[in-house]
Amino acid sequence: MEALRLANLGKVFGSGHLEVRALDDVSLVINAGDLVALMGPSGSGKTTLLLCVSLILEPTAGTVVFDGETIYQNGWTGVDVRRLRREKIGFVFQSANLIPFLTVRENVLFPLDLVGRKGAAAERRVTELLEYMEVAERAHYLPALLSGGEQQRVAVARALANRPKLILADEPTASLDTVRGKKVMEMLKQIARENQTAVITVTHDARMIEGFDHVYHLKDGRLNNMVSSRYSILFSTDH
């Protein structure tokens, strides 16, 4: 089942001689349960692509179809993108962006609260997610008291709360050591398989992409599909 389709996507910043073509004719299809990596040197347009897919940046050209709904068509949208974000997309950030004044439990409850899911059912969902991410014993701590890896796992739990169709992760392992980074990646893989959630993750680290379904490489805003195999080989990285 198709989760996301980008067709001839373009994004231009500025105009005239200040014009930056951050995305240029990008097309790709991602199915439910796909695990996708996005690689590329700094300034190649990875974050811009992620922002377009997150429905935060409006592309200047092309089409975004998400979960069967056309969101952007040639720079136009008539959709409540914030509602789509809170209901259907989960985010994991470079360094865990947990809300510092909410406990671990409340952080995971927050997106449920936003879509109006409250009470015992919501509480059960939180417990289930924290157990799944192996941070249940930290439930009542403030994020500042957790290790980086634990924080990142709470962030993944938060991203999963509303059973999103799509999870977007921007360098989720950047602030973690290899062992912990691998563990987070393993969990993302597991989530993609078990929940049929499409996962797109930006990464710099070729060692992390083992077992990804697709690895895309961005360069100057243009996309190359490097490999389309479930068991990938090592890539040379850009650093």
């Binding site: 974050t47 992620l50 922002l51 997150s54 935060i56 940046l57 914030r82 509602r83 789509l84 974000r85 809170r86 209901e87 997309i89 989960g90 985010f91 950030f93 470079q94 962006n97 809300i99 510092p100 004044f101 909410l102 409340e106 409850l109 927050f110 997106p111 609260d113 936003l114 403030l142 938060r158 921007d170 360098e171």
Partner: protein, 398 residues
């Protein structure tokens, strides 16, 4: 999920410090309210307590409290003869500064007809009213004298026969009640040397004006100053009399000014107290302004520290209203808690002030309403930051 309370819990220390600081500002604002009300209360209590139907004073004068007023004593008989007047009594009111028990004290003398006239003290806390024509006094407790004390005033010594607490003079100083004759003598009679000196001056100007010394000698007693002066006549109306009609009659035929008790109170409030009100009002506005600025800055820093979290919230789809509500609630919580703290402080220290601090519910409510509006205003800066924050900021960089 209440975000505001959770955020403030994490920043307890700063929250409490702000409440104490801003709360004390509110204390000062409330003190100024109370100071003004206390002044009005003290400034008008004597008028309200004396409370005759009409005050008759010198023509075109706002006397006897707001301005000096004087008239010959016998005029109260003329006022008494006006149709509709049941009783008319002479009244003296005069602020002085004299030695009492070895200390220089400011107080006001009230002279009234002690044999059934209007204008005397209504309730005594101790002792009895003045019963003799001479040398007895009733004093306000604030003067610091005791029953039976003998107090020299002017040429005579007075015995304290009663104490009162009901009203103070319009400037907040204590009152001393004397019989009319004693008050006149104390206030207008000069001592013998002064009388002799004046008589000598007058003799010389009469002789200088062309009279023989014998003629001058015969005229002198007629020029002696008349001490039978009063400051006002208090009028009690007959039950069915129309105050406006009686007032007009007295104004037109006796050539005095006439005020009701309420008008007399208004004169004082508009006159002496208006300036003070303006002064305090200006201070109150300034202080409220400072309070709003402080809360704004605190809320602004609270918001800026959270700006990344706010970006995250927006990114994961929180509508603006969720975030704005958090900022607004923090601001209002801070304002309301500060106000309550300020209120608590003023209520516990009001009695320590030397002058009366009168805290009235409508004043407090109005101040609260203004504070609340200020609290909303204070969050504007923070809310503006919230609206400006791009969700993209959460995804690294921009």
């Amino acid at each position: 999920m209440d975000l505001a309370i959770r955020d403030l819990k994490l920043h307890k220390g700063r929250f409490l410090a702000t409440i104490i600081g801003v709360g004390l500002l509110f204390t000062i604002v409330l003190t100024m309210n109370g100071l003004y009300r206390g002044n009005v209360h003290e400034g008008t209590a004597l008028i309200a307590h004396t409370g005759p139907d009409l005050w008759v004073v010198e023509r075109d004068r706002g006397g006897p409290f707001n301005e000096q007023s004087s008239m010959p004593e016998f005029f109260h008989y003329s006022v008494a003869a006006v149709p509709g007047v049941e009783q008319a009594s002479p009244f003296i009111y005069y602020p002085v500064e004299r030695q009492v028990k070895g200390e220089s004290r400011r107080f006001s003398i009230i002279g009234y007809d002690v044999f059934g006239g209007l204008g005397g003290p209504r309730q005594l806390t101790q002792g009895r009213p003045i019963q003799q024509a001479h040398y007895e006094m009733v004093a306000h407790e604030k003067l610091g004298v005791k029953l039976g004390d003998r107090i020299p005033l002017g040429l005579h010594t007075f015995t304290v026969v009663g104490l009162t607490r009901e009203a103070v003079a319009t400037d907040g100083e204590p009152l001393v009640y004397l019989s009319l004759a004693d008050a006149q003598e104390f206030l207008f009679q000069r001592d013998n040397q002064e009388v002799r000196n004046q008589r000598e001056r007058q003799r010389r100007s009469l002789v200088g004006g062309g009279l023989t010394p014998q003629e001058a000698e015969r005229l002198l007693p007629l020029l002696a100053p008349d001490i039978h002066t009063i400051n006002a006549v208090l009028v009690k109306l007959a039950p069915d009399a129309d105050p406006a009609y009686v007032a007009r009659h007295i104004q037109d035929w006796l050539y005095f000014s006439v005020f009701t008790t309420q008008e007399e109170i208004d004169l004082v409030v508009r006159g002496r107290l208006a300036r003070m009100s303006a002064q305090l009002g200006f201070f109150r506005i300034l202080l409220l302004f400072v309070a709003v600025v402080i809360i704004s800055l605190v809320i602004y820093t609270f918001t800026m520290e959270k700006i990344r979290s706010i970006a995250v919230m927006k990114l994961i789809g929180a509508p603006n209203r969720v975030v704005i509500r958090m900022i607004l609630e923090e601001s209002l919580l801070m304002t309301v808690s500060s106000f309550l703290f300020g209120l608590l402080v003023i209520h516990s220290i009001a009695d320590l002030f030397p002058r009366k601090i009168l805290i009235l519910a409508p004043d407090t409510l109005l101040t609260f309403a203004i504070a609340l509006a200020g609290g909303i205003l204070a969050s504007v800066l923070g809310i503006w930051q919230v609206l400006k924050t791009e969700p993209a900021m959460a995804l690294g960089g921009r």
